[in-house]
Subunit: 454 residues, 4 copies
């Protein structure tokens, strides 16, 4: 599963905003590892540096020192296999009649092709294939008078997910789509403001969490301080439920609760919904660990470590010889044989997409001597593809769209298989179905393409 | 003096157009050493590679092999000191409603700021600060029906110098501004066509020279063959006279005569206009060598080598210590002392801008024992700045705008100084004043900003 | 604390030995992150590639494909701050009268300066400052007849820690110092042999663990198969106890027991030696996690996650501004506030060197609301520096060499502090004091400089 | 023909010796373009930087600033096609019992394999395949008391060509083989000393030429000033005659005369030895230009430019398609058609090795309309390979070893062909046969392998 992107924005005259943005992006590395970029305004010009790689690989002290100013925005881009290229890295920088602007985007426009076609027909040209360029161009084309009105106006045209940080030479702007599909929050740092995809980044750089930016709203920060504005509103909210299940960092807050506790609750619910007699419970690290602890607490089964994530993780692109083809799982995990051998195990994971990884893990555990392997998943069967930016899979590839649970259990070789119910999942978050997009589970996509946003 | 850029375009199905473009750009390296780029269309997509450096440094066999297709355009960018950046390298690639286009530009728009402002006000955005992006955007905005009409239409808006090669997925286009300020010619290669800034590149890759593209005209090459079209016409022509004096390669043809013979003639005219008793005549290499030979022929003075250009020239950015500050000239030239010592010398150069280089050379020759140094320049005094892309200098810096000839001779330390007359220069080319822009000598700029082009 | 290095050797005609070595080094990445190198012999020449960076950063498919042959050795070098340079990267390649040899070394010679001085005085020269070059040169100088005798002979001269893999054009050699300070084991892969610092690498590449190479012994693998030989023997053994505490991967075996179970046992012993009333027990990840689980099991206290290691760890060299100076710990860990707040916590760590990190963690936990923080360390007070390659600290820097336990508790701000006894530590490994070097705890260094090895 | 290397040494307390060395190497770029390196001693340590590429590409201001000290040596390595690698770049740095030394070498040892074998048998090891490492090791092994004696002692063992600059932490040393095969001279710079392969580098950096270091002698420069010493002497001298013909820069002095005037004289001699009726005389640039002028002077034929070397020369490694295969010559030269067409031409070149290049040039000139092409060569037929470092060719490849002059003329397609006689060549230099190695012409190699040097 591909992860989302991270966006950051900092307005802090007198501080080294590039360095602050660097550490915020570092804290949000889990949301994107393909490329990273920072743009800084000194009130006149906006300088930008972006490159392929992890935050810590992209930036050096020397590069950060060249990025001087009082406003910065930053971006981490998620990793993809093939077509990822440096010219799609963000932030996007464009000269407009309002001066230079920089824009960083987390999300996915579902009417990207439509908007691009419309703009091309008006004679506009595009330098990239990123939807961020479409958003920036709509902004520049808007004939509304104020920044707020311009942003409200483009919210009327955009469909899909967007949590955006943007800067003009003298203003920092953050706004979020009317469905609130991706998170975006705001914090205060001594003498300045921080906008971030997740609250954990505020914590890292010593900023105080203020609030999440509500769906369809935005903020403009300038020398006049912070000004909130209502853009476009919808009755429903649609925060992506996978932020709870997998994407967000465990120590981030969403809707005022920690991701960690939600995941712990998922494990507790799973234990109630899918009890099983076993010797111990373990997790597929990292995201399922809190749920395994919750399962242990609720079921009374001992929590053990059966697989330990490698201390130094770095993706390898080397293709092994045939007889090594199955070493994929072994490269990621250390196997604690004595905790597995002759044990009946409950194994918690966050999701099953195609089923191949789970199958390989079951095989590994059985080969290490596990007597029974009972798979428990902290989410419902994933039966529908995502059109809002999560690169899950097509219908044909999603195992739960093509097999029933017992067939899946057979395929992966598990002695039993249990998925958390959608109700259980919602309860674990403390909120109900109206709050979330759970389209990958129930097929109820939050917005049709031709719906109007008022 | 900064040099112009080079543009190339090749339409040759079945041939390796990237490699052909590479060698054409290699032959045109003298027109630009800062960056180089090639864009290739395979009929669907246009792939582009551009990087800072010389042609031979930018491209490897591996890179060229990735650039597969039947149409290519290429560009060498001239070298500047500071603000040159990779994102201003060319060709420019843009997605438009006509599909992706690539564009390479040699020249300079004098109404760039005006056009950019107008486009920004219409809500358009810019990713670079190159005038090539302005041209590409005007093209995409044109509502004319055909390619020819679109190009004619933007010719009505552009003011200044532009020799352009451009491609759409299936067409190669070349056109030249109505004044014909920069050269552009067309040739035929077995089964295809070549467009090039200078004819020497045709020669290098084995193409046959067909003709120069006349000012204000263009060509479109597609599977239907080559189609010429008249864009916009003006009564005057204004080929930059410095192409003859300095820019173009000696083996290129302009107006059907070789640059070499024009320079040789300049030397002959100089000998008639400014005879002097001396022992020998020498040149400041490279561009003044043919003129020195012409001077020798006409005057009967022996031609000698006093300064030899270093075999391996590569710009150095290392700042020497104070006592080495004057080694600039020494790094460029080898001094042949026995040809200089105790000699009365005529020394030919192509121009004097600020006078500092000439002064340093006179000093070097005198220190090597020259009894007399008589400077002869193959062009008139440069009294006016260029607004069409040649980075000469401001009025304040141009020595001939501030001193008379005798003062200049004093300043540079020469025993005598003679500039070729404008008439002599014209005669050396075989054409008269109507053919050229000689604004740097006579202040007669070819086109006012507010003139209309019909 | 700096980590050791990793060495690998593979003899496997018909297999892609470079790729196998790559994955073995990948599995041993925890033993060194500064540089990585692989040398491969094809029977005639030895080709080597080494570079700064992680295994996955250093090697590409293309580089590995160029390394063709039937024997390979590999090396990961530990990370240091400043003077680390590419020319100290390993393997070392040298041409000798026996042909080219490659050598990779994990360990530290204590008589390096003495040996180097002796060789310099004989007129030899050195290209690096690594002790590997000294070892290779002694080998080349040896006048003994056979490989075994040559190695025995240099064992008589070397003092200190060395686990070495080495190859000649047709032989793979592995040997270990008479004290057995660093581990080295041997495995069998279909049709070939593998030598590795730790058994986990055998597991990763599908090799079968055969045995550890005993201290002072070696193996030579050639087309005649594997031949073991006794080099030099000592009565004592001195495996570095920190392999158990911190260095080795939890799923590696040492002395036939898993590191994981030894660490789990350390936690159980700690709970017995230093019981405390508390609400929960947590670990400083990663190495202390098994001990925290053992402590939980023995004490009955709930095991919780209070700090979670960041999913994407990559060292940063960016210096934050003053007010961010303390963010070091925050960059490494995610804080699970709800598990900490209002809790009396037992916190397990593997060691305290200077005390600063522990102090920062206690502060972080208290600021997050911990009512009490009881630090429990899975090793005794570290009171003596290591001279065998572990970059701990000087006497002056080691907090336990300068303060008693109650003073240390005060310094770090803990409510109580308990160190595991040396006896407890030994018992946790299943072996007694004769087996280990525990000099950093008890000052009993295994070998004086002037002792003879027979 | 491959060129030799360049060596430089500078002793100048208080000056920026790295920058001075940089500009000296820049002036000597014609002697080697493959790699460049500078080593600087600050009295304690020697720091070195070397990399593949031209001097101006290898060094930046930042790199030079890190090279602080009062002694520097530098090296340019000649370019080869395939096996050239960075680890063979020079200077070589080695730690010895005298401290660290750096050594740069121009030349070729003919007993390299013998010396290496001898050292390997003594148990020494080698990190490179360069003969410089052999020289440095012999130096370190020497048991003589003083530096002078050590160098004299190794001169007794070395056979072949070597002009060497070397430094210890506090001494700069230069010495030259007893035959004086490669040049080496010494100059004075305000407060310091410069050693250089050619005098032109002294001139460039403002140093005063003092003298050539005589064959078999050396100098040691330290805080006690410059001390000359006699190493080993032979009756004969054997300066490589190709220094005059091709290698050295025209403005360098050898034996107190300029290379330029020697080449001019070669042309005059040629005109006397091989007169021909023709319309004009031209050169193959660059090295043959002075000879063509001498030929013109002596014969009265007009000197013309028929081929002009490209202003921006940079080797290309791109392989053209088949129909472009012959563009090799075109890439190097601009063809001045009007000077060639319908002319009977004398064409001067410095040598013919295999004949292919000359053949291609004759073809090019004929295709451009030359009526007759008379080739005149400023050296005798090259009939013997060089064993002293000039990569000419084997007997089988040397056209003059396999064909007589009339056959060669046929092969290259010339209307006539004349080689300068060996006597004529010697006279052009002003010295007689005892001064030079002309083995490639007459097969008289200066030193047999087993001769003793006293």
């Amino acid at each position: 599963m591909k992860e989302c992107c991270a966006v950051v924005g900092i307005y802090a005259p007198g501080k080294d905003v590039a360095v602050l943005t660097y550490f915020a992006l570092y804290a949000l590395q889990h949301r994107g590892q393909e490329s990273s970029g920072i743009a800084v305004s000194n009130g006149k010009n906006i300088e930008c540096y972006k490159e392929m790689g992890l935050v810590s690989q992209v930036f050096t002290q020397e590069i950060l020192q060249r990025l001087k100013g009082h406003i910065a925005i930053g971006h981490n881009r998620y990793s993809t296999s093939g077509t990822s290229k440096i010219h799609n890295a963000q932030p996007v920088i464009l000269k407009t009649h309002l001066g230079t602007i920089a824009l960083a985007h987390n999300g996915n426009l579902i009417n990207y092709e439509h908007l691009k076609k419309m703009l091309l027909e008006r004679g506009l040209t595009f330098a990239t294939s990123s939807d961020s360029e479409v958003i920036a161009k709509l902004f520049a084309l808007s004939e509304a008078d104020t920044l707020e009105e311009k942003i409200s106006s483009i919210m009327g045209e955009l469909r899909g997910a967007y949590s955006i940080t943007m800067c003009t030479p003298n203003e920092l702007i953050g706004f979020r789509d009317p469905l609130g599909i991706r998170p975006l929050c705001i914090g205060k740092i001594n003498g300045g403001w921080v906008i971030s995809s997740e609250s954990c980044a505020l914590n890292t750089i010593g900023a105080e969490f203020i609030k999440e930016i509500p769906p369809g709203e935005g903020v403009i920060i300038s020398q006049d301080g912070l000004k909130s504005f209502a853009g476009r509103k919808l009755k429903q909210e649609s925060l992506c439920i996978f932020e709870y299940i997998y994407f967000a960092r465990p120590d981030s807050l969403l809707n005022n609760r920690s991701i960690y506790s939600a995941r712990y609750n998922m494990g507790r619910k799973l234990a109630k919904e899918w009890p099983v007699e076993a010797d111990a419970v373990m997790a597929i690290p990292d995201s399922a660990v809190p749920a395994a602890m919750g399962f242990s607490y609720e079921s009374g089964l001992t929590y053990i470590e059966g697989l330990i994530k490698n201390r130094y993780i770095a993706r390898t692109f080397i293709q092994p010889e045939d007889h090594l083809r199955k070493l994929g799982i072994k490269l990621k995990f250390n196997l604690v044989v004595e905790n597995i051998k002759n044990k009946k195990l409950v194994v918690i994971d966050d999701s099953i997409v195609r089923g191949n990884t789970t199958k390989a893990i079951v095989k590994l555990l059985k080969e290490a001597g596990a007597k029974e392997v009972h798979i428990r998943i902290t989410s419902p069967p994933m039966q529908h593809p995502c059109f809002l930016g999560v690169d899950t899979a097509t219908y044909g590839e999603l195992i739960a769209a093509n097999k029933n649970i017992s067939e899946i259990a057979d395929f992966i070789g598990a002695d039993s298989l249990g998925y958390l119910s959608l109700e259980g999942l919602m309860e674990a978050t403390g909120y109900n179905r109206e709050k979330f997009c759970a389209a990958c589970f129930n097929g109820e996509y939050p917005l049709l393409f031709d719906e109007k946003i008022e």
